[in-house]
Symmetry: C2
DNA sequence: TCCGCAATACTCGTCTGCGAGTACTCGTAG
DNA sequence: CTACGAGTACTCGCAGACGAGTATTGCGGA
């Protein structure tokens, strides 16, 4: 599977707006911000002009005109090409149809949670749980406010995020429960390891997956 | 919040292994692969030597000795420093205690699912659902196999991933249900928009969040 | 005994992402 | 009427990241 000619997700965002009507880069940024697309994906505005130039280089957009408006610097207006339209749809198809290869960073953290003692682990997890609660609440509020204004289709990504946030909260709560009630087996060994630095050597170190 | 001196997650992985005992870079790679840490985080082995050099530059690890073994090139063995140990723990604390700022790419895809028609959306979502099923199955198998060999603590990230995978599958299944039964309101408008390219203008375009 | 492939242990050059800066303009409060 | 802060519309330099390459050794098979 050859990777995309323009890999930066900002490229996708750009395509999604020029696909509606021709625009100049700064306007794209404005529209994207105003629609809150930066909440759906990680966007670095510093890369905007580079990305647009790349899209042009690969024939996904083309310059239409240079407008001079007032004393400002010239603005180049870009339009999407048929190739760009195809790329955009294909990109969305890929995002919807295939799993992310990059696991969330929390998974990396969990896989190393051993270094924190049980006590630190508990307090950190409590913090995370609080943040998850806030995020869920924010999404619920947004949904309630937007539901009467927008078709379901445009809210689906928020519903998804809410569902995942709640699921993670549930999992963290469950894990926390095990930690605080002492139900998790090996808790003592863990605490001993963290306090003394000694490794209980009764575990077969050499495990392959 | 100042960002980490060494930002690459591979740096975290490296710290997690040198923290146990001094090692040379290639050995770190071997150990990390053998423990399957590359499933917990996105690791590019091409960056290994750069990252180790950076960790050294910032005083998180230091060179101990250069071993010459057989006719092979020299291997520099690195040891973790106290600063490195602190950085490592702090990094894990951050990963466990705070939410990822980068939403999953699927969310970006969902937010643009409109461009695919309902039919394409359905078939793509079916594919995703199948992949989610496979992933869940793989995790269940891994857990079953590893549970008798390893303490719970070392399996927690797999349990988390499994829980999240199942949650996503549930959500996708639900959404798919709405699409296929026609329960989702606005389905006709969507299909019409996709076939004709015309936008039903009965929606207030200018919505801020 | 000779070949070829896998593993070992790196190195290098390219490319690009993006933070930080710049320069100009407009509205407005004093 | 002027100074200042908030936009507007970009530009640039450079640190990294990473793919692809390289050179050597060991080993199994024919």
């Amino acid at each position: 599977m050859k990777r995309r000619k323009v890999a930066n997700v900002l490229g996708l965002a750009v395509l999604s707006v020029v696909q509606e009507r021709p625009m100049h880069p700064y306007e794209m940024a404005t529209v994207l911000k105003q629609r809150g697309k930066d909440a759906d994906m990680p966007i670095k505005w510093g890369s905007l002009y580079t990305v647009v130039a790349n899209l042009e280089k690969h024939g996904f957009v083309e310059a239409v005109e240079s407008v001079k408006d007032g004393g400002r610097p010239e603005r180049t207006v870009y339009r999407i090409t048929p190739a760009g339209r195809a790329e955009f749809e294909d990109w969305v198809r890929e995002l919807v149809g295939t799993l992310d290869r990059e696991p969330p960073r929390f998974k990396a953290g969990l896989s190393m949670i051993g270094v924190l003692g049980p006590d630190q682990a508990i307090s950190r997890l409590r913090e995370r749980l609080a943040q998850l609660g806030e995020r869920a609440e924010a999404h619920r509020a947004a949904l309630e406010q937007l539901r009467p204004l927008l078709p379901r289709l445009f809210l689906v990504e928020v519903e998804y995020d809410l569902a995942m946030t709640e699921a993670e909260a549930r999992w963290v709560r469950g894990f926390l429960e095990e930690l605080t009630t002492g139900a998790l087996p090996g808790l003592d060994a863990w605490r001993r390891y963290h306090e003394t630095g000694e490794f209980p050597d009764d575990l077969g170190e050499f495990v392959e997956r």
